[in-house]
C-alpha cells in the first residue's frame, strides 16, 4: 500500500545549492577585429566577475631583432607594429634615429611626414569605427562603409610609397621619395570623400538609439585613474583631459599647425568613440594646412647622410602621438651601425593593462564592447 508522506512545510532546495561561476574563454581566434588576443572571463550568469587577458600570441621579437639590424633596416619591422597606421610608427622610429645621430630633416620632408602620419591616423580611426560597429552588432554595414574610405587612403599610399599597409617610406633624415605630381589634388579629393564617409558612419552610429544605449555609461574612468593606469590617446582624452603629445610635447612641425583636441566627459565607451570621430576631423584639418603650408619643392632627404650610419653613443626617449595613444621609442646607441637597445612603448599595451578594471562588473556583451572601444592593435601590444 503506498503511503503518501504528509508534508506541511514546503520542500526547499538543499542549502548547498548555489550557482557556480563559469569560465568562458574568448579565445585567440576573434571575429576579425582585434587580432590574436585571449581573454578568460569568469562569469556568474551574465555578470563578469573576473577577467584575465593573455597576450603574446603575436610576439615577434621586435626589440631583439632591432638590435641585430642596421638603423635603416629595422624600419621594415617597426611599421608592422601598429599595422593599421604604418607611417606613424615609422615616424617615431626615424625621429629616434635622427635624435641619436643628430641628423637634420629638410622642411618639405617634415611636412610630408606629418601628412602621411595624419592620413594614417584617419585610416586607423576608420578601422576603429568599422570594427566597433561590428562589435556592437551592426553586422558589418559600418565595416564596409569604413573600408571604402580606407581603400581610398590606401590607394594614396600606394601612389606615394609603393605599398599600402607597410610602406617603409620614411627614412632617418627625411622620406625616401618625393610626392607624385598630382598628390595634392588627389589628397584633397580623398579628404572630401572621407568626410562624406564619416558623416555616413556618424549618422549610422551616433544617431542610433540602440548604439547609444549600449555604449553610454559603460566603463567610465576618471582622469586621475586614467593617468595612474598609464592610459593615453583617445582613451585619456575621453575622460576629459585634453592631453595630446602633439600639443604637450610638440615634435616635428606640429607647433606650426592649428588644430583642436577633442575631449569627452566621463570616459565611457561612447565618449571614446566620439573623441575618435571628432579627432578625424582635426586630422583632416592638419592635412589641409600642411598641403597649404608645404614648400612646393625642395629636398626630401638629408643630402649629407653617410653611407652607413654609425652612432657612437646616445640615448633618447622620443614621444609621439600614435593613433592609439603615446607611441614612444626608447633608443640607446653604443657604437657601430646597429642600435644597442630599442624599446617600444606602445599605447595599446598600456591601454590594455587596464582592461580587467574596466570589465569586471559588466555583462559579457559589454566586455566585448569595452574591448572594442580600447581599439587595440595586437602588433603593438605584442611587439
Amino acid at each position: 500500500m503506498t503511503h503518501w508522506p504528509e508534508t506541511t512545510t514546503p520542500v526547499l532546495p538543499p542549502d548547498d545549492l548555489n550557482t557556480v561561476d563559469m569560465t568562458i574563454n574568448i579565445g585567440p581566434q576573434h571575429p576579425a577585429t582585434h587580432g590574436v588576443f585571449r581573454m578568460v572571463l569568469t562569469v556568474d550568469g551574465e555578470l563578469v566577475v573576473d577577467c584575465e587577458p593573455y597576450i603574446g600570441y603575436l610576439h615577434r621579437g621586435l626589440e631583439k631583432l632591432s638590435e641585430t639590424a642596421d638603423y635603416r633596416q629595422s624600419m621594415g619591422w617597426w611599421d608592422r607594429t601598429d599595422y593599421l597606421a604604418g607611417m606613424c610608427c615609422e615616424m617615431a622610429y626615424c625621429m629616434a634615429v635622427e635624435k641619436l645621430g643628430g641628423l637634420e630633416v629638410p622642411e618639405r620632408a617634415e611636412y610630408i611626414r606629418v601628412i602621411m602620419a595624419e592620413l594614417s591616423r584617419i585610416n586607423s580611426h576608420f578601422m576603429f569605427l568599422g570594427a566597433f560597429g561590428t562589435d556592437v552588432g551592426v553586422l558589418g554595414t559600418t565595416f564596409t562603409y569604413a573600408w571604402r574610405e580606407r581603400e581610398r587612403i590606401y590607394d594614396l599610399f600606394e601612389e606615394v610609397a609603393g605599398d599600402r599597409m607597410f610602406p617603409t617610406y620614411l627614412r632617418p633624415g627625411g622620406v625616401s621619395m618625393d610626392l607624385p605630381e598630382n598628390f595634392e589634388q588627389r589628397c584633397r579629393w580623398v579628404l572630401d570623400s572621407a568626410r562624406q564617409g564619416m558623416e555616413d558612419l556618424d549618422g549610422m552610429m551616433t544617431g542610433n538609439e540602440i548604439f547609444v544605449e549600449r555604449c553610454r555609461d559603460l566603463g567610465p574612468i576618471t582622469p586621475e585613474r586614467g593617468i595612474a593606469l598609464g592610459l593615453s590617446g583617445p582613451m585619456l582624452r575621453a575622460t576629459g583631459l585634453p592631453w595630446d603629445i602633439r600639443k604637450a610635447e610638440p615634435y616635428s612641425i606640429y607647433d606650426r599647425l592649428d588644430f583642436e583636441v577633442p575631449v569627452g566627459r566621463q570616459g565611457d565607451v561612447f565618449d571614446r568613440y566620439f573623441v575618435r570621430l571628432a579627432e578625424m576631423y582635426q586630422s583632416m584639418r592638419i592635412v589641409e594646412q600642411c598641403l597649404d603650408q608645404m614648400p612646393k619643392s625642395g629636398l626630401v632627404l638629408n643630402p649629407n647622410l653617410p653611407k652607413t650610419l654609425r652612432i657612437e653613443s646616445g640615448e633618447c626617449y622620443i614621444r609621439t602621438e600614435g593613433t592609439k595613444g603615446e607611441y614612444s621609442v626608447y633608443a640607446l646607441a653604443k657604437g657601430g651601425n646597429k642600435p644597442y637597445r630599442m624599446k617600444l612603448r606602445s599605447p595599446s599595451f598600456c591601454n590594455l593593462s587596464g582592461l580587467r578594471e574596466m570589465v569586471v562588473g559588466t555583462y559579457v556583451a559589454d566586455a566585448i564592447v569595452i574591448l572594442g572601444s580600447l581599439d587595440i592593435v595586437l602588433g603593438e601590444v605584442d611587439k
Binding site: E249, G314, E315, L332, R341
Partner: protein
C-alpha cells in the same frame, strides 16, 4: 564649426629636450648625494641605486612641485657586465619629464616594484622581468606576459643568442657547433 570657445590647454607645454629647471628642483627636493644627474638627448636623467628607488619615486610623485603622476615606460637594458632599468616619468601639472636609471647587477637582480605607486607599472614590470630576468619584489602577479607561461629564458639579454626557442630548449638541433 566649434561649439565651445577655444580655451588654452590646461597644462604647460613641455618639450622633448632636457630641462634645466628640473635639475634644481630635484636637487632641492631630494637630499644631496643620493642622486647622480645626467642627461640623455631628450630628458634629464637621474641615477639611483635600487634600494632607494621606492623612496625617490614616492618623493617624485607626492611632492607638489614635482608631481610626476604618469609613469610612461619601464625599459630594461643589458650592458653585459651589469644591467639597468630605465623609468620614464612625466608630470602633467608642470610639463616636465624625467628618466630614472636604476643600475643593477647581472643575473636575477631584485628591484622594488612600483605597482603600489603606479598601477601602470604592472605590465611593464612583467615584461621586463621575463625579457631580462629582473625580479620585482612586491609585484602582485609576476607571471610571463608575452612569452609562454612555462618558458624561463630571458631573450633580450645580450648573452641570449638570436635563435629559435626550440633550439634553445633542446627540442631541435641547432646549426653545427652551436652550443647554448
Amino acid at each position: 564649426m566649434t561649439e565651445a570657445q577655444a580655451r588654452p590647454l590646461p597644462y604647460p607645454v613641455g618639450s622633448q629636450s632636457p630641462q634645466e629647471g628640473l635639475k634644481d628642483l630635484l636637487a632641492k627636493a631630494v637630499p644631496g648625494g643620493l642622486l647622480t644627474f645626467g642627461a640623455t638627448a631628450t630628458d634629464l636623467d637621474v641615477t639611483v641605486p635600487p634600494a632607494d628607488l621606492l623612496t625617490l619615486v614616492t618623493t617624485l610623485r607626492d611632492r607638489p612641485e614635482l608631481a610626476f603622476d604618469l609613469l610612461r615606460n619601464i625599459a630594461g637594458v643589458d650592458y653585459e657586465t651589469d644591467m639597468a632599468l630605465k623609468y620614464h616619468l612625466y608630470s602633467l601639472k608642470h610639463g616636465h619629464a624625467l628618466q630614472v636609471t636604476v643600475p643593477t647587477t647581472s643575473g636575477h637582480p631584485h628591484v622594488p616594484s612600483l605597482t603600489s605607486l603606479y598601477p601602470a607599472a604592472n605590465w611593464h614590470e612583467r615584461e621586463a622581468s621575463e625579457m631580462f630576468g629582473f625580479v620585482f619584489d612586491g609585484h602582485p602577479n609576476p607571471k610571463n606576459l608575452l612569452l609562454e607561461e612555462d618558458l624561463h629564458i630571458h631573450p633580450l639579454l645580450k648573452a641570449h643568442p638570436l635563435a629559435k626557442v626550440e633550439i634553445l630548449q633542446g627540442i631541435e638541433e641547432g646549426p653545427p657547433g652551436f652550443k647554448f
